[in-house]
C-alpha cells in the first residue's frame, strides 16, 4: 500500500479524503496533520455560528469517528516543521513520516493590515473557530462595541452576527460601496440600507489610521479624525495563501503554490489543494472550486484522467434576510448590454449583463429566487436571444404585468396629507371628486390642492385616477428623461419625502430604468440632492456639465474662459493689473461683460489651475460665470457718488453678492441693485432686482433678459437693508428648494404663482427657516473652487493622464 500524507485538515483536503474513501478505500495508508487540535468543520458556516443561528456541532464535517472509520492516522495539534523532498519525508513536531504521495492543504491565513495598533489584544481576524469564539466572548459584555474593518463578504457576516449578539457595530469600508467585487452600486446601496435597518453603522470611503488603546483596543481613529470607541476590532480585509512550508521545500510558488490542472506541484510526488494553490494565475477563496479541485486531485492520485478548469462563481451573503446574489462578470468587457429591473416598494434590484446573446453576469438584491437559474444560463453559455425580452422576469414569467403604480395611492388613508402647502388631505380630494370635480383644474379650484407649489400635482392626479377609474384621462406628465417615468416635481417631492440622500438611492427607490442615469437626469438629481441634503450628500462632479466640473466656460474651440469675481462690480488698480498680467501670460482675449465683469477668453485647460492661482494671489475668487448658481450682482454707484442715489446700492450689492456667492441654484441667478428708479443697474430684468427709493427698497423678482424678456414683479417693499437681505436670501432658498432644474426663477414663479411665493415668504418663521437652511448650505458650498483646484494634487486632473507622443516617436 502506498503512503499518503496530508498536511492540513480543511474543507478541500477533507473532500479529497472523502473521494478516496468512496472510490478506493484501500489504496493508501493515510496520515493527516492538522495544526488545529481538531478535525474538520465547514468553515464557510462559521458566520451562522457567530450569529447563533447554528451550533458548532452542526458544522463539523469530519469528526474523530469519521477519521477512525477511514483508518486515517490523525496527528492533530501537531505542526509540520518541514518537508524533505529528497528523502520523501514530512517532519512533524513529534517525528517524521515518509510518503509516496503528499498533499499540501495548508489553506490561507487572514490578511492583517499593518496599521499602528494592529497587534493589540482585542484585534481579531475572522477565519477560524477561535476567532469566532473570541467574538462571541466579546459580545457577552452588555453595551459593548465592535468595529469591523472591511465591507466584503466576511466583514459583513461578522458585523451582522455581532449585531445579533447584541453589540453596537460599525463597519468601515474603504471603497465607495459595499462588496464592490461582487456587487454594483445599486445593489451595494440596498445592502447598506438593509444593514443600517439592523442598527449597523456603515461608513464608506473610510480609511483607518490607527487602532488605539493602552493595554487593549479602546478605539479606532480614522484618517478624517473620526474616533470610534471599540471593545473589539475585527479585521476582515482578505486572505493570503499559506505557502511558507511549500516555499521552504523549494516548490514553485507565485502568489501561492503553483499547480497544474491535475493539482500537481513542481514535484510530481506532491500535490496541493485549496486556498494555498495558484492555478493559471488564479487563487481561490470560495468553496465551489475547492471541491472541484479535491475531486480532480483524488482522481489524479488514483491514476485517472481529469483536469481542473476554472468555472464561473456565484456569491451569496450568509446574513439572514439579506437576499443578494451575484454571479459571473457584470463589470468588465466590451460589447455588453444591461437589463435593469427595480421594484422600489419591495426593495428589489436585478441587473443582467448580456454579451453576444449570452448571459455573462447577474446581480440581484431582494429577490434572488431565480439566482441559480441565471447562474445556470451563465455557466452553460445558453443562447438567450429568444427570451431576451422576458429574461429579467425569470423562468416563471408568464406574461403578467408588474405591480400597479396606483396601488400605493389607493392604499393611502383618507387623512393622508396630499397637498402640504394648503393642508389638503386625500379625503378632501375624494369628496371634491364625488361632488363633481373631474379634473386637476376643478380640484385646484375647489380644494386648492396642488394650486400652490405644485409638487403634489402628480399625487392629485393619481387620486383622481384611483377615484374615477377609467373616467379619468391621466394627462401625459413630462418625465425627467427616458430613465424614469417620474416628473421633476415627483422626483423632488420623493427625494424629500423618502429622505433619499445619494444618487444610487434615487435610482433604486424611484425605479430608474438605467444602471446610473444619463446626461439629462444626472445633473438634475445631483442638484436636487445637494440642495435638499447639503450636509449629507456629497456633490458629484461627474454628474455636472463640463463648465461646472471645470469651473470655467468651455468655448467652441475647446478652450475656456476665466472670469474673476468683482463684488458688486467694483474693482481696483491692483486687480486690473493682475488681470492684465494674466492676459499677457496666458495669451487671453479680454472682454468686458454685461454683468460688470472682465472675462479672459481662450485659456487652455491645462493652464486653468495656474491662472486661477495667479488670480487667487491677487485676492480674487471665481466669478462663477459658468454655473447654475449666483452669477453677478450688478449695481450702480448709488448714494455715494450719484446725485440721484437714494441708498447705498453698491454697498447692498456687495453684501448680497458676498452672502449668495457659491450657492447652487436650479438655473443661473443674476441680481441687480439700482440706487434710484432711474434704474441704471437694469435691475428690473434680473432674477432679483432691487430698486432703492427714499422709503426703502423695492424687491422685484422673476425678471429676464434672454430669449424671453420679462420685467420683475414686485415681491415686497422692505424698509431696511437687513429686511431686504433677509427677503432676498429667503427667496433664493425657496427657489432652490422648489424649482425644477433648469427653470429660471421667472418660469418657476409662473408655475407656482407669485402669490404663493409672497405668502410663503411673508411668514416670519418660514422666512427665517429658509434663511437658516440657506446658510447651512453655504457652510458647505461657499468655497472658492479656484483655490481648491489650484493645489498640485487637484491640478493633476487638468493634465493628460499620460503623454505618449514621445514614446510613439521612439
Amino acid at each position: 500500500m502506498q503512503k499518503l500524507v496530508v498536511i492540513g485538515a480543511g474543507m478541500a483536503s477533507g473532500r479529497v479524503l472523502e473521494h478516496l474513501r468512496d472510490t478506493a478505500p484501500d489504496a493508501f495508508e493515510i496520515t493527516l496533520f492538522n495544526a488545529e487540535p481538531r478535525g474538520n468543520y465547514n468553515r464557510i458556516m462559521l458566520s451562522p455560528v457567530l450569529s447563533g443561528e447554528k451550533s458548532y456541532e452542526e458544522i463539523v464535517t469530519h469528526d474523530d469517528g469519521w477519521y477512525g472509520a477511514g483508518k486515517v492516522n490523525c496527528r492533530f495539534g501537531e505542526k509540520v516543521i518541514s518537508i524533505d523532498r529528497d528523502r520523501k519525508v514530512v517532519v512533524g513536531e513529534k517525528g517524521e513520516v515518509s510518503y509516496d504521495k503528499l498533499i499540501i492543504g495548508t489553506g490561507s491565513s487572514p490578511f492583517i493590515i499593518p496599521l499602528p495598533g494592529h497587534d493589540k489584544p482585542g484585534v481579531v481576524a475572522y477565519r477560524d473557530l477561535e476567532d469566532t469564539n473570541a467574538m462571541i466572548e466579546a459580545a457577552g459584555k452588555p453595551g459593548s462595541r465592535a468595529v469591523v474593518i472591511g465591507g466584503g463578504l466576511l466583514g459583513l457576516e461578522a458585523a451582522a452576527g455581532l449585531r445579533l449578539r447584541g453589540m453596537d457595530v460599525t463597519v468601515l469600508h474603504i471603497m465607495g460601496h459595499l462588496m464592490e467585487r461582487q456587487l454594483d452600486e445599486a445593489a451595494g446601496y440596498l445592502l447598506k440600507k438593509d444593514l443600517e435597518k439592523r442598527g449597523i453603522d456603515v461608513l464608506l470611503r473610510a480609511s483607518t489610521k490607527e487602532i488605539r488603546g493602552r493595554d487593549r483596543v479602546e478605539d479606532v481613529l480614522l484618517e478624517d479624525g473620526t474616533v470610534l470607541p471599540a471593545d473589539i476590532v475585527v479585521m476582515a480585509v482578505g486572505i493570503r495563501p499559506s505557502v511558507q512550508l511549500a516555499k521552504d521545500a523549494g516548490l514553485d510558488c507565485g502568489r501561492a503554490i503553483i499547480v497544474d490542472a491535475q493539482m500537481q506541484t513542481s514535484d510530481p510526488a506532491i500535490y496541493a489543494v485549496g486556498e494555498c494553490v495558484e492555478f493559471d494565475g488564479n487563487i481561490f477563496g470560495l468553496v465551489a472550486p475547492l471541491y472541484d479541485q479535491a475531486k480532480v486531485l483524488a482522481r489524479s492520485l488514483l491514476g485517472e484522467v481529469d483536469a481542473f478548469a476554472m468555472r464561473e462563481l456565484s456569491t451569496k451573503l450568509k446574513v439572514t434576510g439579506c437576499d443578494l446574489f451575484s454571479a459571473g462578470d457584470f463589470a468588465e468587457g466590451e460589447g455588453r448590454e444591461d437589463i435593469v429591473f427595480r421594484d422600489p416598494a419591495r426593495g428589489v434590484y436585478k441587473r443582467l449583463v448580456i454579451e453576444e446573446d449570452r448571459l455573462v453576469g447577474a446581480v440581484m438584491y431582494g429577490d434572488t429566487g431565480d439566482g441559480n437559474w441565471y447562474f445556470g444560463l451563465i455557466k452553460d453559455g445558453t443562447d438567450v436571444s429568444a427570451m431576451r425580452e422576458t429574461l429579467i422576469f425569470g423562468p416563471a414569467y408568464q406574461g403578467g404585468a408588474s405591480a400597479d403604480p396606483l396601488a400605493a395611492v389607493a392604499a393611502l388613508p383618507d387623512d393622508a396629507e396630499i397637498c402640504g402647502c394648503n393642508g389638503v388631505c386625500k379625503g378632501d380630494i375624494v369628496s371634491a371628486i364625488e361632488a363633481g370635480a373631474g379634473d386637476l383644474g376643478a380640484i385646484r379650484a375647489t380644494t386648492k390642492a396642488s394650486a400652490s407649489c405644485g409638487t403634489c400635482t402628480g399625487l392629485v392626479e393619481q387620486v383622481l385616477a384611483v377615484t374615477l377609474g377609467d373616467d379619468f384621462q391621466m394627462p401625459a406628465a413630462q418625465p425627467v428623461c427616458g430613465c424614469t417615468d417620474l416628473t421633476h416635481e415627483d422626483v423632488r417631492r420623493l427625494i424629500k419625502a423618502q429622505e433619499l440622500k445619494s444618487q444610487p438611492a434615487v435610482w433604486q427607490e424611484l425605479g430608474w430604468k438605467t444602471p446610473n442615469g444619463c446626461h439629462v437626469c444626472r445633473p438634475a438629481v445631483n442638484f436636487y440632492l445637494l440642495a435638499d441634503w447639503p450636509l449629507d450628500y456629497q456633490d458629484d462632479p461627474q454628474s455636472r456639465f463640463v463648465n461646472e466640473r471645470n469651473h470655467a466656460n468651455i468655448q467652441k474651440d475647446g478652450t475656456y474662459s476665466v472670469m474673476p469675481r468683482m463684488w458688486g462690480g467694483m474693482t481696483n488698480a491692483q486687480e486690473l493689473r493682475a488681470i492684465a498680467d494674466a492676459a499677457d501670460k496666458y495669451n487671453a482675449v479680454v472682454k468686458v461683460t454685461g454683468g460688470q465683469r472682465i472675462d479672459l477668453l481662450g485659456i487652455k485647460k491645462e493652464d486653468l489651475p495656474a491662472i486661477w492661482s495667479d488670480m487667487n494671489d491677487a485676492g480674487m475668487v471665481s466669478g462663477h460665470a459658468y454655473t447654475k448658481g449666483l452669477r453677478t450682482v450688478k449695481t450702480c454707484v448709488g448714494s455715494d457718488w450719484c446725485r440721484f442715489g437714494t441708498q447705498d446700492s453698491t454697498g447692498l450689492g456687495i453684501i448680497l453678492e458676498k452672502r449668495l456667492w457659491g450657492s447652487w441654484t436650479p438655473h443661473k441667478v443674476k441680481l441687480g441693485v439700482s440706487g434710484c428708479p432711474r434704474n441704471c443697474a437694469e435691475a428690473t430684468c434680473k432674477d432679483v432686482g432691487i430698486i432703492c427709493v427714499d422709503s426703502g427698497y423695492q424687491i422685484g423678482v422673476g425678471g429676464a433678459a434672454g430669449m424671453d424678456v420679462k420685467e420683475v414683479e414686485r415681491l415686497h417693499d422692505a424698509r431696511t437693508e437687513e429686511e431686504t437681505i433677509e427677503w432676498t436670501v429667503a427667496f433664493v432658498q425657496l427657489y432652490r428648494e422648489h424649482a425644477k432644474y433648469l427653470d429660471r426663477a421667472y418660469k418657476w414663479i409662473a408655475k407656482v404663482g407669485l402669490d404663493w411665493v409672497r405668502d410663503t415668504l411673508a411668514d416670519d418663521a418660514e422666512r427665517a427657516a429658509l434663511v437658516e437652511r440657506f446658510d447651512i448650505s453655504q457652510s458647505v458650498y461657499q468655497k472658492d473652487p479656484w483655490a481648491e483646484r489650484a493645489s498640485p494634487e487637484a491640478a493633476r486632473h487638468f493634465k493628460p493622464l499620460a503623454d505618449l507622443t514621445l514614446e510613439a516617436a521612439e
Binding site: 447554528k54 449578539r165 447584541g166 439592523r198 442598527g199 439572514t320 434576510g321 416598494a345
Partner: protein, 309 residues
C-alpha cells in the same frame, strides 16, 4: 423503540386550532386537541364574530393576542377550557395584506413542571418590547423578559424584526451572555424560533417560540423560504430535529423543496392558511403532530414555519 423513549411526557402546547373567516365569522377549520375531546366538541360548535372571543379579537385588532387566565375575560369557551385544564392561549392572526386568511390559536395548560415560552413582541418607541407572553414555569425568565427590550438587529426578536424573516436560533442559553440568555439557560430553553407577524397598518410584531428540552414546544422546527411561490415551490432553508439533527443543506448539496399542495407544508403554501395535522401517516420523522404557519409578504406567501411534536 427509540421513538417511544424520546417522546416527552408532556408537551408545552396542548391544543392548536386554525380558525378561518367564513362570511362575518370565524369558524374552526382544523385543530389538534389530543385527549381533550370535550373541549374539541365545544370548539367545533363555536363561531366567532369579528371582535368576539380570542380569535375575533386578534382579527379585529389585527395583532397577536396573549391571554392568561380565562375567568372573567372575553374568552368564550371558559367552561370547556376550565374542565380541560387549559389556562392560557395565544392567538396569531395570519394576514395577506389587509385580508385575514386565518387565526392560529394555541392553548396551554398551567403546570409547574412545564417550561417554555411563547412571546409576542411589539414595536414601541423604536424598540421591541414584550407585549405579553406565556412562560409556564419559567417565572424568572418571564420577569427578565418583561424588563428587556430589543433594538433593531439585536437578539432573536430584534433580528426577526429587521430581517423580516423567520430565524431559528440554537443554544439560547449558552451562546449569549446577556441577562435574558443567562436566565434562558437556567430555564433550560435551548432552541428559539422567531417569526414576523405581518398585520395591516404597518405595526411590527414578532412571535417567538422558545423550547426547552424536557417539555418542548416542538422537537422539530423547519423554516421554508416560499418566495418562489410564484413558481409554486418552497425551499427548506433551516431546521433542526431532535431525531434527524440539522435539516439545512450546505452549498454543494441539493436543496430540499416542496411544491404547492405537496404534503402538509405544500398545503400551507397552496392555501396560505395554517395547517394543523396529527396522527396522519407520512409526518416527518414519525412525529405525532405538525403545525405549519404561512407568513405573507407583498401579497404572497414568503415563508412557512413548521413545528412538530
Amino acid at each position: 423503540m427509540e421513538l417511544a423513549l424520546d417522546r416527552p411526557v408532556k408537551t408545552f402546547v396542548e391544543v392548536t386550532e386554525v380558525w378561518v373567516p367564513k362570511g362575518d365569522t370565524l369558524v374552526l377549520a382544523e385543530g389538534y386537541y389530543g385527549t381533550l375531546t370535550a373541549f374539541e366538541e365545544a370548539s367545533r360548535q363555536t363561531a366567532f364574530a369579528k371582535g368576539e372571543g380570542l380569535p375575533g379579537k386578534a382579527w379585529a385588532e389585527a395583532r397577536p393576542v396573549v391571554l392568561k387566565g380565562f375567568d372573567g375575560s372575553y374568552f368564550k369557551r371558559i367552561e370547556a377550557a376550565r374542565e380541560a385544564g387549559l389556562t392560557s392561549a395565544v392567538a396569531i392572526p395570519v394576514f395577506a395584506g389587509k385580508e385575514l386568511k386565518a387565526v392560529l390559536v394555541v392553548l396551554c395548560g398551567d403546570d409547574e413542571n412545564r417550561t417554555g415560552a411563547i412571546e409576542v413582541w411589539a414595536e414601541k418607541d423604536g424598540v421591541l418590547m414584550l407585549d405579553d407572553g406565556y412562560y409556564g414555569a419559567a417565572k424568572h425568565f418571564e420577569w427578565v423578559s418583561q424588563h428587556t427590550q430589543f433594538p433593531r438587529g439585536q437578539g432573536l426578536p430584534g433580528g426577526v424584526w429587521s430581517a423580516e424573516t423567520p430565524i431559528l436560533m440554537r443554544d439560547l442559553g449558552s451562546g449569549y451572555r446577556f441577562v435574558r440568555a443567562e436566565s434562558a439557560g437556567k430555564a433550560g430553553l435551548t432552541t428559539g424560533l422567531g417569526l414576523p407577524v405581518p398585520v395591516p397598518g404597518g405595526k411590527s410584531f414578532v412571535l417567538t417560540l422558545l423550547s426547552a428540552l424536557g417539555t418542548p414546544i416542538a422537537r422539530r422546527f423547519e423554516i421554508w423560504d416560499a418566495r418562489r411561490a410564484g413558481r409554486g415551490e418552497a425551499v427548506l432553508i433551516d431546521g433542526i430535529c431532535a431525531r434527524e439533527g440539522p435539516l439545512w443543506t450546505g452549498e454543494a448539496e441539493p436543496e430540499r423543496k416542496v411544491s404547492a399542495w405537496q404534503g402538509l407544508v405544500g398545503r400551507a403554501l397552496g392555501t396560505g392558511v395554517p395547517v394543523v395535522e396529527s396522527g396522519v401517516p407520512g409526518l416527518s420523522a414519525g412525529y405525532d403532530t405538525m403545525t405549519a404557519l404561512p407568513i405573507h409578504r407583498a401579497g404572497e406567501v414568503s415563508h412557512i414555519v413548521a413545528w412538530y411534536c
